[in-house]
């Protein structure tokens, strides 16, 4: 088990390094970072000065090695754009993103799993059809559109919720719904499919036969098995929500890490982008690892394997 964990950890480090090398190269290939830093109105002399100041005239591998060396020493450098330490900048933005991500995945799980179970118990019923409709709608509706519709209803018409910002818990309600709804359909369909399969299994019939209550059979026997792939999926979705909630963060003016990453790319703010990529890849690795642990707890066969 230890060898397995160490191997996976080593692989994760390699993946992280590869991602950072590729992103570093792509950022440099996609345009002159000096031009992005200087802004639209810079003169050629401005560009030249910035190129020299930031060392963009050095060979790419040297620039990368320089960054890596500092990063390994815990120094992510200063944001080219904000002129503030990258670590404090990201810490500030990450709290918003984490809050949103955790709320959204909880929202998605607590609505999608019961709906998926209900749909599996009564296939082709009105519940199943409603669940199907919700999941199709969730996949089909772009999140910026859904976000704006919620704003129109709850902020402009009903005046119940603030349209943008992150000052209070009320500010997170609509973004949570929008982001969570996006993750919901996949979780729901997977729960439904898993449950349908498990409910037809022999041991469920046995459980019923020996007189176990319906609720106990459903949640203790069936769901425990059906949920294994859902946990893996939720972990991936969580990673996506932390790094990819760009649109939702932009619409609700949340100033989170996803939006910071997107904007930093177009600003060629290399230290910020590199640090964020590192953090996002770590998130994926950690969540995948945690989902493995959770699955091992849920399914003893995985522990043995």
């Amino acid at each position: 088990m230890l060898a397995f964990t160490l191997k996976r950890l080593g692989l994760a480090v390699l993946v992280t390094l590869t991602v950072s090398v590729i992103s570093f190269s792509l950022l440099h290939l996609s345009g002159n970072p000096a031009a992005a830093l200087a802004g639209e109105n810079a003169t050629p002399a401005d560009l030249e000065a910035i190129t020299r100041q930031y060392g963009f005239d050095r060979p790419l591998p040297v620039q990368y090695a320089d960054w890596l060396w500092n990063a390994l020493h815990g120094d992510f450098g200063q944001s080219y754009y904000f002129k503030l330490p990258v670590s404090s900048l990201i810490a500030d933005r990450l709290s918003v993103t984490m809050t949103l991500g955790v709320c959204a995945i909880c929202f998605a799980l607590f609505t999608a799993v019961p709906l998926g179970v209900a749909a599996a118990v009564r296939p082709n019923s009105i519940i199943d059809r409603t669940a199907l409709f919700l999941s199709v709608a969730g996949q089909a509706m772009p999140s910026f559109w859904f976000g704006l519709v919620l704003i129109v209803l709850f902020s402009i018409k009903m005046r119940l919720l603030p349209p943008s910002g992150s000052a209070s818990w009320q500010h997170f309600i609509m973004p949570t719904i929008v982001l969570g709804y996006y993750a919901m359909p996949a979780i729901m369909r997977l729960t439904r499919a898993g449950m349908m399969e498990v409910l037809n299994a022999d041991y469920i019939r046995t459980a019923h036969a020996k007189g176990a209550g319906a609720g106990r059979v459903l949640f203790k026997h069936a769901l425990r098995n059906a949920i294994v792939p859902v946990v893996s999926l939720a972990a991936v979705q969580m990673g996506f929500m932390l790094g990819g909630s760009i649109v939702v963060e932009a619409i609700f003016a949340l100033h989170g890490a996803g939006y910071l990453a997107w904007e930093s790319i177009s600003r060629h703010d290399l230290p910020t982008v590199q640090a964020l990529i590192l953090i996002f890849s770590c998130f994926y690795i950690v969540f995948t690892f945690l989902s493995d642990l959770a699955n091992a707890w849920l399914d003893p066969r995985i522990r043995v394997g």
Binding site: G39, A45, V152
Partner: protein
């Protein structure tokens, strides 16, 4: 100072324009008869689209930064946005001692927001700091025309320029805010970015970098700008324009600008808002690779370049797409800039003539070419449709500004639609000289034009400048190195409680705002 859109356009704005438009239509259709806060708490709530990198003016390049700087700080000179005339700001008066020395008598009795008194030391420290390459200001060209500043006595200071620089007053009024020397020496750009201190009509009460700025009226303000009437200006960064609209409609903010034309038109139907349209100093232009920097191409022939001018109905693009205060522009500068003249060859829409010129140049059936653009894709596409009508088949390459800029530096992207906002500077050296003096975006490489422009840039005599600039503009138009297209405009939308008249330099002045 990039304005709407620019290189870092929010992702949402790039997505599915139809859905965005219909979402907005839904927003406006459903909302009517709202009540608004604002006047009651003496606060104008507004929004920035862009995350501002720093409030320290010298360490940012956004229009939002310029707007904040006009409120927090003062320059030595003030330019009246309505008349364009210069008057003293932190300086009382000035004289040119010689072609390269400007002497200022400073105003006495002015204090900074932190109580520090203003005198010559502040001016000398600011200029010494920003002209030192070690300090890495973001846009060195704002300040590197100055060699040094010298204190003569406590209220007299001299600025020595690197070369004769007639646009000095324009730069000093727009781009050189003066900082308190003791505070800046101690805290530098970091302190100034987090807790700015100036002499302007508003002081910063609180700020969260890139997110939120609260300005409070400075009661001790003594300069030529209007003394602020509105107590507090609360600015939040809201990247998506639709969300800004939602905030406006739900009463969360009172004032927005940079509203797209279609949305502004819908808002004019709502009673509770005022929609104002005003010109900006940004103009569009079509550049062509006359100097064959990217290799042999049809645009090395004058007839082909002129044909492009005749082929495009710029008036129709203005009437149907830009609307508002936009106008067709004929010279390679913004009409109100010093030196700019309309007395140049004009290319009215005449597709037949364009075809004749193409035939004369040896392209009776037209040709195929790459066409580059970085903003306002619909405008670029309209131009391509006109070009196709005369036989020029243009393939659009739509790039990020930084990528296009890089391409042009190396001689690529020679045929394209670009724009320039001149940093809101009222002198044509801020545009024409920048693009026609053999720089990396000069695809004309015309020595005569370059020399005339340099003559205009370095003479302190107005008549010499006007003549030299006039000759350059005439030749640029006649040779059709550029086909200037149109000037841009901006829409400002605010609640009826606010009384405000926008100015053509696209700088929002909250100190000119009043409650109705």
């Amino acid at each position: 100072m990039s304005t709407e859109g620019s290189a870092s356009k929010p992702i949402v704005n790039e997505m599915k324009p139809f859905l965005r438009a219909s979402a907005f239509a839904l927003v406006t259709a459903l909302s009517c008869g709202q009540a608004f806060a604002g006047k009651a708490d003496d606060t104008v709530h507004t929004a920035f689209t862009k995350e501002l990198e720093s409030v320290d003016f010298y360490y940012q390049s956004a229009r939002e930064g310029t707007i904040l700087s006009r409120h927090i700080w003062d320059g030595l000179v003030y330019r009246d946005p309505k008349t364009g005339e210069y008057s003293g700001n932190l300086a009382e008066s000035w004289t040119w001692v010689d072609d390269m020395t400007l002497e200022f008598k400073l105003r006495e009795g002015i204090t900074f927001h932190n109580g520090e008194p203003f005198d010559a030391d502040d001016v000398v420290h600011t200029i010494t700091f920003i002209t030192d390459p070690e300090n890495k200001v973001v846009t060195p060209s704002y300040s590197n025309w100055m060699k040094s500043a010298e204190k003569i006595d406590q209220y007299t200071v001299r600025i020595h320029t690197e070369r004769p620089f007639p646009a000095a007053l324009e730069y000093l009024s727009s781009l050189i805010p003066i900082y308190p020397n003791e505070y800046y020496a101690e805290g530098g750009p970091t302190a100034m970015g987090l807790k700015p201190v100036g002499t302007g009509p508003y002081m910063v009460e609180s700020l969260e970098p890139g997110k939120h700025y609260v300005l409070k009226k400075f009661d001790g303000y003594k300069g030529p700008k209007t003394k602020a009437e509105i107590g507090t200006i609360d600015i939040r960064t809201i990247p998506d324009i639709n969300t800004q609209m939602a905030e406006l409609l739900s009463g969360g903010i009172d004032f927005v600008w940079g509203v797209p034309t279609d949305q502004a038109e819908q808002l004019t139907t709502m009673d509770q808002f005022v929609v104002a349209n005003e010109a900006t100093m940004r103009i569009g232009y079509i550049t062509m690779d006359a100097a064959a920097r990217g290799g042999e191409n049809p645009f090395t022939k004058k007839e082909v370049r002129q044909a492009v001018g005749y082929a495009i109905d710029r008036q129709a693009i203005v009437d149907n797409l830009l609307k508002g205060s936009s106008e067709v522009v004929h010279a390679a500068c913004y009409p109100t800039q010093f030196g700019c003249t309309d007395d140049v060859m004009k290319y009215e829409y005449n597709p037949e003539k364009a075809k004749e010129l193409l035939a004369a140049a040896g392209y009776p059936n037209g040709f195929e070419t790459e066409f580059y653009a970085y903003r306002n894709r619909p405008y670029a596409e309209a131009m391509m449709a006109y070009l196709a009508d005369v036989g020029i088949k243009a393939n659009l390459n739509y790039l990020k500004y930084s990528a296009l800029r890089d391409l042009q530096k190396n001689g690529g992207g020679g045929f394209g639609f670009l724009t320039w906002g001149s940093n809101s500077l009222g002198d044509m050296s801020a545009i024409t000289s920048l693009f026609f003096e053999m720089g990396d975006q000069d695809f004309a490489r015309d020595e005569e034009v370059s020399n005339w422009l340099k003559e205009g840039d370095t003479s302190v005599k107005d008549e010499v400048r006007l003549e030299a600039y006039g000759k350059a503009l005439k030749k640029i138009a006649e040779e059709a190195y550029w086909i200037p297209t149109f000037s841009y405009n901006a829409n400002y939308v605010f609640t009826k409680e606010v009384d405000y008249k926008p100015t053509p330099d696209e700088i929002v002045r909250f100190f000119d705002m009043k409650w109705n």
